[in-house]
Structure formats: C-alpha cells, structure tokens
C-alpha cells in the first residue's frame, strides 16, 4: 500500500510541474506578462520597478525558475482591484466557499446514497419513481435556474429566508465561519441547497444504478441461498460493492461542486472564491486569475490522489497489482 501511495504522490508532483509550465507558458510567453502583473493604470515608475522585481527582462528559462520560486513561496503577486497579495485575498475568501461546498456535499451524499439504494432495491415502487423524478430535475436543470427559483419562492414570495450574502460569523481555530451562528445558518441554507441538488441527483442515480445491477448478480443470489436477510445483503454486500464507483464519482464531483460554487456564489452574492473569480474575469484582475488556476489545479490533484488511494483501499484486487 505504501509503495502505491508514494508512486501516486510522485505522479502528482509531476503533474503539478507540468501544469505550472502550462500556466507559465500561457501567461508569460504567450500572453503579455506585463499585463498580468502590472495594473494598466500603474505609473511608468512602478512599471519599471515591477519589471525589475519580477525579472521580466530576463531570459525565459530564468523567468520560469523565478516563477517556480515565487510559487513555492506563495507569492502570486498583488490583486489590481483589491491591492493586496493575492494569496492572502484567496485565503480570506476561502472559508466562505469551503463551508458552502462541504455542507452541500455532505448533505447530498448522506441523503442521496440511501435514497438511491432504496430506489435501486425497489425500482418499481411509487417512492422510487418519485425519487427518480426529483433526481432528473436536480440533474438536468441548470444550477443557476434552481437558485433563481429558490430565491423567488423562499425569499421574494414567502420571505422565509434571506435572498443572499453571508450571515454573521463566529470564530473557530482563528477563522471566521458562518455555520456557527443561527443567522449564518439561515443565510447558508439556500445556497447550500442550491449547490447540493446536482450532486444529490448524481448520487441518487449512481446508487440506484449500482444497486439495481448488483441485486441481479450471483453474489446476491448466493447470499440469499445462504439465508442472509435482505437488510444484511444490502448493508454488507451491495453497499460495499457500489462504494467503489460512488467514491470515485464523489471525488470527481467534489471538484465539480467547488467549481459550480462559482454559479451559486454569483446568484446569492456569496463572498467566496467563486464570486472572486467571476469578478476578476470581468475586471481583468489577472493575478487573481492565475492564482485561482494554480490553486484549483492543486486542489484537483489532491482530490484525485485521495480518490486513487480510497479506490485501492476499497477494492483489494487493485492493491496486489499495483505493488507488483
């Protein structure tokens, strides 16, 4: 197992390196690095100073090494709009997105998987058909539309919940989180619901498909012949077997959910990194865009690595093959 993890870690590092090269080439060689690093309304003096500081008059390969150097130190430059170091800016906004995404993902999985298993176990029941109908909606209807409808129904028409922005925060481990206050939770509910629906639908469909297929296998038939109760079969055999595709998709969709937070945050004016990137695109705040790309790439690699490891942990057949 250890050899497997190390091998994967090294692969991840290589990928990060490749991405850093891609971003570097895209921004510094193809694009105009001056535009990326220096705000268009900077004075000539500051321009020259920045060129010197970032070595923009140096040969390309040296610039790349400087770039890597800065990356490792966490220096992504300064945001044009906010005039503060980009990394600091991102970390400031990150908790908002994290709590939104985690709440959405947890809710979607904890609710979606059991419902999906039930729908797959009794595919012809009325409840199962209802679950599938809701999941089709969550799956096909674009997130922004659901957000709109949610705001219209709960905020405008019924007036039960606020229409946007983050609520009050409380401190935990030195970071401000809004799920720790009642007001914060009220503000968190609708955006989290919005974000979770797509993933919920996906989990339901996956669990249902997996359960349906597994129930038809000889494994289940043999277990029934041995006298195992249906509940035991579902819990011990089916769940374990469908866990593999579910965990894989969970990991992939985690990243996707983080990305979709962009839409939800825009609609609900949620001050997270999703809204940050959209605003940056429209204001052409390029240092933020670059940093966001690298950060997201890093996050994805971490997620992929975790999924790979979890995959090997769940499917024993993979362990012996990889270690060999």
């Amino acid at each position: 197992m250890l050899g497997f993890i190390i091998q994967r870690l090294m692969q991840a590092c290589v990928v990060m390196l490749v991405i850093s090269v891609l971003v570097f080439v895209g921004v510094y060689a193809v694009g105009n690095p001056i535009d990326v690093l220096i705000s268009p309304d900077a004075t000539q003096l500051i321009r020259e100073q920045t060129i010197k500081a970032y070595g923009l008059d140096q040969p390309l390969w040296k610039q790349y090494l400087d770039f890597l150097n800065r990356l490792v130190r966490g220096d992504f430059g300064r945001s044009f709009v906010f005039n503060m170091p980009v990394l600091e800016l991102i970390f400031q906004k990150l908790p908002a997105t994290l709590e939104l995404t985690l709440l959405a993902v947890l809710g979607a999985t904890l609710l979606g998987v059991p419902l999906g298993i039930y729908a797959g176990y009794r595919p012809d029941s009325a409840a199962s058909k209802a679950i599938m109908a809701i999941s089709i909606l969550g799956f096909s209807v674009p997130t922004f539309w659901i957000g709109l409808v949610l705001i219209f129904t709960f905020a405008v028409t019924l007036g039960w919940l606020p229409a946007g922005s983050r609520g009050e925060t409380a401190s935990l481990f030195g970071i401000q989180w809004s799920f720790l206050t009642a007001n914060g939770l009220m503000h968190l509910f609708l955006p989290a619901l919005n974000l979770s629906l797509f993933k919920f639908a996906m989990m339901v469909r996956l669990a249902r498909a997996g359960t349906r297929e597994t129930m038809l296998t000889d494994t289940v038939k043999f277990a029934r012949a041995a006298g195992l109760s249906e509940w035991t079969i579902l819990r011990r055999h089916v769940l374990r077997l469908i866990a593999i595709p579910i965990v894989t998709v969970f990991g992939l969709e985690l990243g996707s959910t983080l990305a979709f937070a962009v839409v939800t945050e825009t609609i609900f004016s949620w001050p997270g990194i999703g809204k940050l990137i959209i605003d940056s695109i429209s204001t052409l705040d390029r240092p933020v865009m670059v940093a966001y790309l690298m950060l997201v790439a890093f996050l994805f690699i971490v997620i992929n690595l975790s999924v790979d490891i979890a995959y090997a942990a769940l499917d024993p057949r993979l362990r012996t093959r990889r270690a060999a």
Binding site: F222, A223, A225, A226, L228, R236, L314
Partner: protein
C-alpha cells in the same frame, strides 16, 4: 426411510415480454436422507430452475405456479419470507456454478463465511471464525486460519469452489443443491472435488441434488438419476440401470452421443434437431419432433409411468417397460 424432500407437481413459469415461459412443468420426485440424486438435462431443460424453485429463489417475472415442495413434511411453497430465509442455508443449502461470481470480491472469505453463520445463530465473532476454520479444513483448504483473511482473488478456481462448498456446509444442512458445481473448473480439479464431495456427503449424512448437463460427472456421484427435457421429468431410476438400459429415446440418444462411446472412424452420433422453445411448446410429447420412434399416439402428452424404481414418460419406451407398469402421474 421417510423422504427428506418431497417434490410433487412443481410448476414454475416466467411471465416474459415474449410470452409465458414454461420452465418447469409438473415435476415430481423425492430425496431420501443422505441420498445423492443427479438431475441431468441440457441447457434450458429446467433443471436449474427446479433447484431455485425448491429454495424459493425464483426471481420475478418467474413464480411457482402450482405444486408442492415438502421438507420433512413441512410445505415450503407459499412459506412466509422470514421462514423461507431461516430455512435457506440452514436446512437446505446451495452451491452455484461459478465461484468467482458467487463470492464477493471485496470482502474477505472469513467475513463472507461469518455472515452465513451469523444469519442463523448468534455467537461471538471468534466462535464463528473457529467454526469457519473447522469447515475449511474439512473441505481441504490448508492453513485455514490464515486464509480466512484472504480475498477470493487470492485463491485458485478450485479453492474458490471449495470455499463456496464450505459456506454451504457451515450450518450443517440436511440437503445441498449443487448447480453445476464443477463445470467451471479444470478437468483435473473436477475429479478431485467430485470424490471429495461424495465422501463428505457420506460422512456427514447430507443429501444432495446434483444438477448437471454432464452425464459422466453425475453418474460418478449420484445413486439415482433424473433426466429432464423441456421442463419435464422424462426418465428416472438407479444410475447404473438408467445408464445401462435407458428407456426414453432422448436418454438413449444422450448416452449414444457421449464422445467416450464413439466408435473410431465413425461420425459422432447426434440427436437431430434442437430443444423446442419453452414459450412456444408444441402439443403432445415435447421430444416428438426429434424422436425416431414417434407416431400418432405421441400427439398426446405421455404420463410418467413407473415400474419399480424406474419411471419413464413415453408412449413407446425402449425395453421391457412396454408390458408392465401403471401410470404414476
């Protein structure tokens, strides 16, 4: 000896989109304690479905339409869900054909075996593991204690089937239904498992229904032979007798077509034609289109007539049965 299992008039049908599939029609037989009977037939003859029907494992759109299955006098058809479940694995167990499909690849065999024990008895995990080790040793798996924590893919094909057999034996069932248990194995392993199972059954006093299409394997294990064709029982009797002088033309054709009996230099003997579709069955004897001895009388379905330990479903049985015997069912 009273019958352990009494099957009478069992009829199982499948309501498919293409039509009503008559998989098992009016099948009756009995199994005594400790007896090994062989259920032979080609693919589609209904032998596997018969096995599933006994355990109540027929999946929809199939269902047992009529008939009865009595275990020690207790009726199993129509039994409630819980009662059926507690009977399965404990009084009647089943072994399937392909152990790589029946064993869950992501669970250790120890876990799977313990689940089978704990489904019927409450005991500590240690006690359950102890029993597992004991049974694994019985079926010939060395170093059982360590191998409990192995996964199915870490065993060879033959060993996997032994594990499946061990699971079947865990709760000391009185009857084991074996559905083609050696078909998926290497020929060399087949012979091994065959002899082992036969001696196991004798030692533990377990009865067996051995389902197979392979006459050779069945005849080395069973004491009585039941031949099925197109969902019906067409011949039954002691193994040696049936093999020596089959009464039903189909059984005779089956035996003649065994490659082992082929005369060198001559073409292999075949039964012409193929089994009729179970959805669109013709009137009368199902074997009629392929039978060399058929005539007008065969337009009516023959009844199963018995003479001593032998019975045959035919209007023109080969051999002495033509004179004696009263219709049985």
């Amino acid at each position: 000896m009273s019958a352990l299992l009494e099957v009478s008039g069992l009829t199982t049908r499948f309501d498919t989109r293409a039509g009503l599939l008559k998989a098992v029609e009016d099948v009756s037989f009995s199994v005594a304690e400790g007896e090994i009977i062989g259920l032979v037939g080609e693919s589609g003859s209904g032998k596997s479905v018969t096995g599933f029907s006994i355990l109540g494992l027929v999946d929809p759109p199939g269902r047992i339409v009529s008939g009865s299955v009595k275990l020690n006098g207790r009726e199993l058809v129509g039994l409630g869900h819980d009662a059926l479940r507690s009977m399965r694995g404990r009084e009647i167990a089943m072994v399937f054909q392909d152990p790589s499909a029946t064993l869950n690849p992501v669970l250790t065999i120890g876990r799977q075996m313990r689940l089978a024990i704990l489904a019927h008895e409450r005991m500590s995990e240690q006690a359950a593991s102890d029993r597992c080790i004991e049974v694994l040793a019985t079926v010939g798996i060395p170093d059982a204690a360590r191998r409990l924590e192995n996964y199915p893919h870490q065993f060879s094909g033959g060993m996997r089937q032994r594990v499946a057999i061990a699971i079947a034996l865990l709760n000391r069932p009185k009857l084991i239904i074996c559905d083609e248990p050696t078909t998926a194995l290497d020929v060399s392993i087949q012979a091994q498992i065959l002899t082992e199972m036969k001696s196991l059954a004798a030692r533990l006093g377990t009865a067996m229904i051995w389902i197979s299409h392979d006459l050779a394997t069945v005849s080395s294990v069973a004491s009585r032979l039941l031949v099925m064709y197109a969902g019906r029982l067409i011949e039954a009797g002691p193994v040696a007798d049936v093999l020596r002088s089959p009464r039903h033309p189909y059984a005779r054709g089956l035996l003649n077509s065994l490659p082992g009996l082929a005369k060198p230099g001559h073409d292999l003997v075949q039964i012409p034609g193929s089994m009729p579709s179970l959805i669109d069955m013709p009137e009368g004897c199902a074997f009629r289109p392929r039978c060399g001895f058929a005539d007008a009388a065969c337009a009516a379905m023959p009844t199963l007539s018995a003479s001593g330990p032998r019975s045959v479903r035919c209007h023109h049985p080969l051999g002495q049965l033509a004179e004696a015997g009263a219709p049985q069912s």
